[in-house]
Amino acid sequence: MNKTQKGAWFNLAGSLFAICVFSWTGFTLFGLKRLPDKGFMFATLAGFFLITGISLFYIRKKQSPNEPESDERDKLILRNAVIAAFVSVWVLLFTANISLQLAFGAGGLIPVWSLRLINVAILYLVLIVYATAILVQYGWGENNAGE
């Protein structure tokens, strides 16, 4: 795997991990109405350091001493992934707005923290879309250099 692929895997792992942590924390705080266990917090910290530590070592490791940081195909794949992520921002924002309207009605009230939660969730979902777009393109292959 080259650096771009490794970075995408790290991105995907980190984003999925963050979404799981936030989801469980939110459920514990607002659903079960209690603070998360100490064990869960240690597991979160351990997971964070594990993913970061492995990625810092693994991403830096090169296939060859002359391997470039990225080549033209990597740039093309990254460009397409950015486009996919940009489109997903709009789709997710629209979906979030429609969902809120359907859940609470046009004149409904929601707490301010829920907006922060929605923004964070959208951020991580966009990162997942970005990383997935990169990995899928490496699997499919791209036919058009220089477009």
Binding site: Q63, S64, E67, P68, D71, E72, R73, G141, E142, G146
Partner: protein, 70 residues
């Protein structure tokens, strides 16, 4: 997805040049091994500069490496 009419002899040329590996060719062409693999298997059409660098790595002309079929 547009049809890729570009074919290449990279695999054959690699074997003819002291069984050059994909990584060695990638180092000479200044790209990653994955890009060489994608070009060889017809999944990726290289840019003109890259096509010339690959041809230069084999010491042959671009037409001997890549062929365009109508």
């Amino acid at each position: 997805m547009p049809e890729n009419n570009l074919t290449n002899n990279i695999r054959r040329l690699r074997f003819e040049h002291n069984e050059m590996t994909q990584q060695e060719l990638a180092d000479k062409a200044q790209v990653t091994r994955q890009t060489i693999f994608a070009i060889e298997s017809g999944k990726y059409a290289p840019s003109l500069p890259l096509a010339f660098r690959i041809a230069k790595a084999f010491g042959v002309g671009v037409e001997q490496v890549f062929q365009y079929e109508e």
